[in-house]
Symmetry: C2
Subunit: 386 residues, 2 copies
């Protein structure tokens, strides 16, 4: 393993990576750091080509020392699908969809859960707990069961019903809470008061982002070790966007990529757009969004803990943040379906709406190679569509 | 392309593969045949290792001449997951699950649809139609949209609701019919009376099985070009089982496999078990099953057109047929979930019940390497679980 330590992007403090950790003492999320010189000696892009079609192909860049703790259901290496017919419809004929529907639990949350649970198990956790908008809880419950850990999950009553059933089937203790994800977090406080329960809330432990970053590696490898012009990401907690930015930085440091950056775009709903508002105001932090509501339930996160990291990634790459409304999301989901067949999730469809708008106002030109993250399977959202 | 012709496994008649065809004039399904000598010169198992992680890695063994007609959403190369904890629970520690939940549309029907639509488009079809228990219709509607073809789909009202929504999103003409799949077929008769509409009902065209057979190639390649001891397949129309048997025969003829056969097992529900009854009676054909009903809706096929091909495959491999009941299916689905995390589909869980029973009565020994097909994502069956 080439993991060396954890560091704080806020205050610069460093921590031993050999024990279970949550936030920095300054309150910031911690990030995992590797000996990239050693990684570069251990593996090359060419050697990766023959590896298994899962995120574990990037083994040297992941934080698990002992293979026995690798908890996998075959997650990762999802298709990067050209969608020329819909793309032409919105003026972006080179549009690509990274389809995270093709992953265990039907959501990209499986990436964070696979790596997070693996590392938590390796460091001795026996019981994890988290609040969730549904998909993350389903994924962590699933991987916890696979690893033999207990899981306690709290989710809003409005979360997709299927995610409750996934938690129950996986044997998790499930709390269904009136309100939003913050209310679910408050409901878990008594459980988390037990020091034997490890808090795996979004960005409160450093390894979920390590699983999510593999989306960045995969996009680059699937494009032949090149970056696209822009990556559009539906942003709730923002872990995937932070992870993709981290992955690109690591690949550049490894010398596996040139200096060209893809512009990173945070896509939110007009019903919950704290990052968009902060980005437009030039603020460093995002204020909580009141009365959050959108059909794209996975991005209903009124107060993301990683707000600074998200805003930094957008600004560092010349990216932007954009909010779209529910009517647009549903219209683009349908326009995509009739042209490309696939039923996207509303969060993925929100990125199509964003791509359409960014093309229409000239922020993207017609030759741009744009990657849209479809962060989960539309099969989980049938209630919302009906 | 190495496709040479179609032949009839019933009467031996042969047909030109260069135009759209349905059944043989004797009423039997037709099968696609290849110049396997030429395939063996064109590709080797070692060369396959570097191919894309989709079913199109077996390009030389698929019936599409021109790449422009390849209609893909990244389907295939699904994980073959060791499930040692549940396996030990039922006395089969080497049990493996081939997880067909990780495929576009969340069901293995995508394989048949991807190849079937590609070939239909290449041969000039502009409009396809079929009856379905839900998942096949969703898959064919999805790939038809992707290829720019019209689709007319009829399904029973009892089919999973999500499959209706998939058809609608893909822009298909959808008919929801009271009754079972046979009633859906009758409802389509007026549509199919139009010679411009191509009938893609189960086994009524020869290329769906070509897509499904890739499960057989993948199992063998994922095991290092070896066969397991047994493959358990939830059997409705039986196309996958017929396809796996065909794949194994092709690999043997190519010299890529030894003579060892995996035993093929058809798993049905006690609520719809025409193949089990025919197998036990030593019959060549299966009689229609009256009043069919099971929670594993995808295998509610009272009168499978491929009955002879299915029974031949079971007998030729020293396999068997077994029926399990809904209570067992749900119990094994839950027992699996708490031990391995993943929410299987009821059809996949039926194979677990069958594996448990076959182990308990000694048909499988404790060292057997057994592959169970989880033919789709459990996410599509939440209504059934609640």
């Amino acid at each position: 393993m080439h993991l060396t330590h954890l560091d704080c992007p806020g205050c610069g403090a460093t921590y031993d990576a050999g024990r279970l950790r949550n936030l920095c003492r300054c309150g910031s999320p911690l990030l995992a750091r590797y000996d990239l010189t050693a990684v570069g000696r251990a593996v090359t892009p060419a050697a990766l080509a023959a590896r298994p079609a899962t995120l574990w192909r990037y083994r040297e860049l992941l934080p698990v020392a002992d293979d026995r703790y690798v908890t996998t259901l075959g997650e990762g290496w999802t298709p990067l699908v050209p969608v020329p017919r819909y793309g032409a419809h919105i003026g972006l004929p080179r549009l690509l969809v990274k389809d995270e529907g093709l992953i265990p639990t039907g959501s990209f949350k499986a990436r964070g859960a696979a790596v997070g649970v693996s590392r938590a198990a390796e460091l001795g956790a026996r019981h994890i707990a988290m609040p969730t908008n549904g998909n993350a809880g389903a994924a962590w419950a699933t991987y916890a069961a696979r690893a033999g850990l207990r899981a306690t999950i709290a989710m809003p009553a409005g979360a997709p019903v299927v995610t409750r059933e996934e938690c129950r089937i996986a044997g998790a203790d499930l709390h269904v809470v009136d309100g939003l994800i913050g209310d679910a977090a408050r409901a878990l406080a008594p459980v988390l008061a037990d020091p034997a329960v490890f808090d795996v809330s979004t960005l409160k432990e450093p390894y979920r982002v390590e699983g999510k970053k593999t989306m960045g590696y995969e996009i680059v490898e699937q494009l032949g070790w090149r970056v696209p012009d822009a990556i559009l990401y539906p942003t709730g907690g923002g872990v995937g966007l932070i992870g993709i930015a981290k992955a690109l930085a690591e690949l550049r440091e490894l010398g596996w990529l040139g200096d060209r950056q893809p512009r990173l775009v945070a896509v939110q709903s007009t019903g919950c757009a704290p990052i968009v508002r902060a980005f437009q105001a030039g603020a460093r932090r995002a204020d909580p969004w009141p009365d959050a509501h959108t059909i794209a339930f996975g991005i209903t996160v009124p107060a993301p803990l990683g707000d600074e990291l998200i805003l930094d990634a957008l600004r560092a790459t010349g990216g932007t943040a954009i909010a779209v409304d529910d009517a647009e999301i549903l219209a683009d989901l349908r326009a995509f379906g009739t042209r490309e067949g696939l039923l996207l999730c509303p969060e993925g469809a929100a990125c199509l709406s964003a791509a359409r708008r960014l093309r229409a106002d000239g922020w993207l030109d017609d030759g741009a190679q744009v990657v849209v993250l479809n962060t989960g399977s539309g099969l989980k959202y049938v209630d919302a569509l009906q």
